[in-house]
């Protein structure tokens, strides 16, 4: 793996790069009093720009909550989250929306696409919402790399699950966001489709220096990342750079997952 990183002389070293997103003393409490659940408990973590980070943890560890708060879809109870230098807690709904539109890309586990729009329109949707033209060259390149050039006119219902997720990935990439958040993107896919999607994300990191943060419970998926952050009980408990599936499994076992 070190060889692989060395093969990318343009990639900033993990520790030195400026974080694309970070959480500082992030705490998120659901419910009140006796029923209160601390999904995030004074959690602090950085996500380096130009890198692919996976977040792992047992069910209920708070990994999805962290992703939602980082992406501005949910608000912290206390603490701070930043996208670049922007603190999300200070933003109103419209500012948050504009931030998501301009600087964040999303890949969800399922229901990623607007059913009334065809694949191409889904890919360019965030740009269209912002009223910005798509970069034709980039669009062509991205569409080519997901291998869907001949299915662009189809509506989501006419695409397979794997194809739908690749369209979602292309959509996330085409607007060149500062950071892409992926929430269990392979959760509903068979292993081959999953591998294709992850390979595609990996390539995006390599070719476009795209920052990606992905929540997953699959060690094989996490192995595509540059770094894995392990979360349990709302806290970061471990991390691993240049991960392997076996190494991840080992740590996960200790976390009791």
């Amino acid at each position: 793996m070190t060889e692989e990183l060395a093969a990318r002389p343009d990639a900033p070293p993990l520790a030195a790069s400026k974080p694309a997103a970070r959480a500082v003393n992030a705490t998120k409490v659901f419910g009140r009093d006796d029923a209160a659940v601390r999904a995030l408990d004074d959690l602090t973590v950085d996500f380096a720009a130009g890198h692919f980070t996976a977040i792992m943890g047992p069910s209920g560890s708070g990994k999805s909550t962290l992703l939602h708060c980082l992406a501005g879809l949910d608000a912290l109870t206390s603490g701070h989250v930043f996208i670049g230098d922007t603190e999300l807690g200070a933003l109103k709904d419209t500012e948050l929306t504009l931030l998501r539109r301009r600087r964040v890309g999303f890949i969800f586990q399922s229901f990623n696409l607007v059913p009334t729009l065809n694949a191409l329109d889904n890919i360019t949707l965030p740009l269209a919402i912002a009223g910005e033209p798509a970069n034709a060259e980039l669009l062509k390149e991205v569409v080519g790399s997901i291998g869907l050039t001949d299915r662009l006119g189809h509506r989501p219902s006419e695409l397979s699950g794997g194809q739908q997720q690749r369209v979602a990935a292309a959509r996330a990439l085409v607007s060149r966001p500062d950071i892409i958040f992926a929430d269990e993107p392979t959760g509903n896919l068979d292993s081959r489709s999953g591998a294709e999607l992850l390979g595609f994300l990996r390539t995006a990191v390599e070719n476009f220096m795209q920052t990606i943060v992905m929540v997953t419970h699959d060690p094989l998926a996490a192995a595509y990342a540059d770094r894995v952050v392990f979360i349990a009980d709302g806290k970061t408990v471990n991390e691993m750079t240049s991960p392997t599936a076996e190494g991840i499994l080992d740590i996960m076992k200790h976390l009791g997952a």
């Binding site: 949910d74 419209t94 399922s110 269209a128």
Partner: protein, 847 residues
């Protein structure tokens, strides 16, 4: 299973609430119609029974030939005064009184304005000091001097009239006369007869001011003790001449009651029709709601089926939900109808002081039954669809799929629409006595057929409407267009509900505009006079002295009266105009088909309009047998010419001399005049105004003002109908709200995704709003096309009745499109807010 249904009903009560509101509104209208009808009937019944209390026998003249049945006298031969002592001498008669009761007496308010105006009628009558009199003094004394009057208590209270006061009156458009209020009286136990103004005079004064020429309208007879009403009636009848009839007081009360009931039932039937239209529109809302709910619940229904529920159980479960919704909503609606009835009674100018509303159990039972049945019937189709949900659907990710448009549906819709068109055609263009049912059924079938076919139009029309939107509004516009097109049946049935109201309003607009255009063309074409005098207070015509006053003025020329009445010819009532043949072409013109308009100078000749002439095969020279109302026998007349009839002039025309010889009273419906040579129209108008200063009920109009007044009265009728149709529009708008609200719920995940991808709240609202606008515009456009077509068909069918010009009021129809746009925007407010407030995480997370 019932438990599951009830749980489902409670869980969806919010979603069903708009449907319920639609039923509530429709049923409130229906039940208020019943309550108002019953109330008016009861009050009138009580009044007439009261008024005839103690009267054994009533003597009246035979009904006049050519006269329509009406309340208020003047429609029968008058009773000669000499007959009263004859009747009084009949054995068993204790008392007999001559009674006068006629229209044409108008009280002026202290400010000089006619009381009553165009509202309830005003009557004059004679005061009789006798047990037969229904009038009971409340204060003051009976009229004794020639200038004494007694006023009914309701009118006195409403206008601040009190005993001892001096007041002015006008009779049949004549000059002001001064009277002295000697008393205030009630009618039976009531303050007056349902809002009509009644003024009572001494008998000689009543004969003079009401121009009865020494006659009475009735003789009321009281029986001596021990003599039965029927016995006395037969004895009285024996002494009467052939043109007089006697009936018992009870029969008289019933006859009066029936006469008013027939008028009221026309009114309440008309109102009921609007209520039923509203319910029909509401039924679209019900079908739509249940269809959407069932689509959304297909997983739950499939689970029930997988767990062993039969199709029948699923169907029954949906129908019970509809039944309960219909029952509750109808009950609320029926209750609300009572409140509405109070308002409606007020609107009709009907006082509820006597005994309040009549709320019969029937009003409730029928209203609730109608509302419940409509709801259940409307739910049957969606319920059948529910039974087709396969148990397997429970296992699939059931995002509701758009229902495909089947061939069967298209053919069914086309056939239904065609049947509608045929029924309308038969109703409009053939002579049948089933015109109204045919038109009603035809319209219903046409609407249902179009509603079935409408999904075919959704893609092209919504696509075309949405194209500029997508360009102007970017992604929200684009998505709005796609959303409107994604489920054509849902969009279509929502739009169809709006279509119905818009179609009816558009049809009314076309018909009204055609009436105005035809009226204007008739006035411009037939009237050469530049000035017209008409009486605003009475349709019975006004005194002939008025024309004499004007004729004496040198600043005016061509002053001539127009008189109107009706006669019987070829066993049908025909209208009859009397004009001065010397003034033809100066004041009125006839567009002759054959013969000569001037021929009526010969009293033997009459003119007839071409429609009647063609129908009967008459032409110049034809000799006819006609019956004049007051003449004892028929006479023969010769057709002197046939003219083209129009909205203003149709029927028979005779000379004023012939008219004067045929009718006992000479009253004008209009006086026509021109400025004398050298006088300007303004000067002549001014001269006329000062000449007629003493005649407060007469209105002077230039030809253009007459045209405008004609248009204004049509506008008034149109806006009344429009107000009644607004209810259907409101319900259709609720339907748009309902569909959008349910769609927003259904598309929660998609909305969440869009919000996550950067769609702002404002853009989200915009998306929902434009979808609503597309739906509303689709409904409006369908409605306008169908409505304009229906309106044009009605106008063509009535071409013979003087509706010669077809006019399509483009600016008005355009205004309806704008209104539909606004309705769309308003209907979207709540669903849009809901969509914008959606919690993104909940939406994405909902699995």
């Amino acid at each position: 299973m019932l438990k599951v249904t009830l749980r489902g009903l409670l869980a969806h009560k919010l979603r069903l609430s708009l449907t319920a509101v639609a039923i509530v509104l429709g049923i409130a209208f229906v039940s208020s119609t019943f309550v108002v009808g019953d109330t008016i009937n009861n009050v009138f019944g009580a009044i007439f029974t009261d008024a005839n209390q103690g009267i054994a026998v009533v003597v009246e003249g035979q009904p006049l030939a050519g006269a329509s049945q009406d309340i208020g006298g003047g429609q029968r031969l008058p009773v000669p005064a000499a007959l009263v002592p004859t009747v009084r001498q009949v054995s068993g008669a204790k008392e007999a009184d001559g009674i006068i009761f006629r229209t044409g007496a108008t009280l002026l308010s202290p400010s000089g304005k006619p009381i009553g105006g165009s509202g309830p009628p005003t009557f004059g009558a004679n005061w009789v000091d006798s047990p037969t009199s229904p009038y009971h003094l409340r204060s003051g004394h009976s009229p004794q001097a020639a200038d004494d009057i007694v006023v009914d208590a309701a009118t006195a209270a409403a206008n601040g009239i009190h005993v001892g006061q001096t007041t002015q009156m006008v009779f049949n458009g004549g000059p002001r006369q001064t009277f002295h209020v000697s008393g205030i009286a009630g009618y039976g136990s009531a303050d007056n007869v349902a809002g009509a103004t009644i003024t009572l005079f001494t008998t000689p004064t009543a004969m003079r001011v009401l121009d009865t020429q020494g006659n009475f309208d009735q003789i009321a007879v009281l029986s001596a003790s021990g003599v039965g009403d029927a016995t006395l009636r037969d004895r009285v009848a024996a002494v009467l001449p052939a043109n007089m009839v006697a009936q018992t007081g009870g029969a008289q009360a019933n006859q009066q009651k029936q006469a008013t009931q027939s008028i009221i039932s026309i009114l309440s039937t008309a109102l009921l029709v609007f209520g039923l239209i509203a319910l029909f529109v509401g039924s679209f809302l019900i079908v739509n709601t249940f269809t959407i709910l069932i689509a959304q619940r297909s997983r739950e229904l499939a689970l029930l089926r997988a767990l062993g529920a039969t199709r029948r159980q699923v169907m029954v479960s949906v129908l019970i939900e509809a039944l309960l919704t219909g029952l509750v909503a109808s009950a609320i609606g029926a209750g609300l109808g009572i409140l509405l009835a109070i308002g409606l009674a007020r609107l009709l100018g009907f006082s509820l002081t006597n005994g309040g509303l009549t709320v019969s159990p029937r009003s409730f039972i029928v209203s609730i039954a109608v509302g419940t049945i409509v709801t259940v019937l409307a739910a049957i189709l969606p319920a059948r669809r529910a039974t087709r949900v396969a148990p397997m659907a429970a296992l699939r990710d059931a995002v509701p799929e758009a229902q495909p448009l089947t061939r069967r549906r298209i053919i069914g819709g086309a056939i239904t629409a065609a049947i509608g068109v045929i029924l309308l055609g038969v109703g409009l263009f053939t002579s049948t006595d089933q015109t109204l049912p045919l038109l009603g059924l035809g319209t219903l079938a046409l609407f249902i057929g179009i509603a079935y076919l409408a999904p075919l139009l959704v893609r092209p029309v919504a696509g075309a409407l949405g194209r500029p939107l997508a360009r102007l509004r970017g992604v929200p516009g684009r998505l709005a267009r796609e959303n409107a097109m994604r489920s054509p049946r849902r969009t279509a049935s929502t739009a169809a509900a709006l279509m119905i109201g818009v179609a009816l309003i558009a049809a009314v607009a076309v018909i009204a505009a055609s009436f105005k255009a035809s009226g204007e063309s008739a006035i411009v074409g037939s009237v050469n006079a530049q000035l017209l005098v008409t009486d605003t207070s009475s349709q019975a015509g006004f005194s002939n002295n008025d024309a004499a006053t004007l004729r004496a003025d040198p600043r005016l020329a061509d002053v001539t009266e127009v008189r109107a009445n009706s006669i019987v010819a070829a066993s049908a009532n025909q209208s009859l105009l009397g004009i001065d043949p010397a003034e033809i072409n100066h004041t009125v013109t006839f567009d002759m088909v054959n013969g000569d308009a001037g021929s009526i100078a010969d009293a033997q000749n009459v003119l007839i309009d071409d429609t009647t002439a063609n129908a009967r095969g008459w032409t110049a020279g034809t000799v006819l047998t006609v019956q004049f109302p007051y003449a004892p026998t028929t006479t023969t007349k010769r057709v002197g010419g046939v003219y083209r009839g129009n909205a203003l002039i149709s029927g028979f025309v005779v000379s004023l001399a012939t008219y004067a010889a045929s009718f006992p009273t000479q009253r004008d419906i209009a006086i026509l005049a021109n400025p004398a040579p050298g006088q300007s129209l303004t000067a002549a108008n001014k001269a006329m105004t000062s000449d007629l200063n003493a005649y407060p009920t007469l209105t002077i109009q230039t030809k253009q003002q007459f045209v405008d007044a004609n248009s204004a009265s049509i506008d008034q009728a149109q806006s009344l109908i429009d107000v009644l149709l607004v209810l259907s529009i409101v319900i259709a708008a609720l339907g748009v709200v309902n569909t959008l609200a349910l769609s927003v719920l259904e598309r929660a995940r998609e909305l969440g995704l869009l919000r996550a991808l950067g769609l702002t709240r404002r853009q989200t609202r915009s998306m929902v709003r434009w979808e609503a606008v597309i739906i509303a515009l689709l409904g409006a456009l369908l409605g306008l096309v169908i409505g304009a077509g229906m309106g044009a068909a009605v106008v063509r069918a009535l071409a013979d009745q003087g509706l010669s010009k077809l006019s399509v009021p483009a600016s008005q129809l355009l205004a309806y499109v704008v209104a539909a746009f606004v309705i769309g925007v308003l209907a979207a407010v709540l669903p849009a807010r809901r969509a914008a407030r959606l919690n993104i995480l909940d939406a994405i997370a909902s699995e």
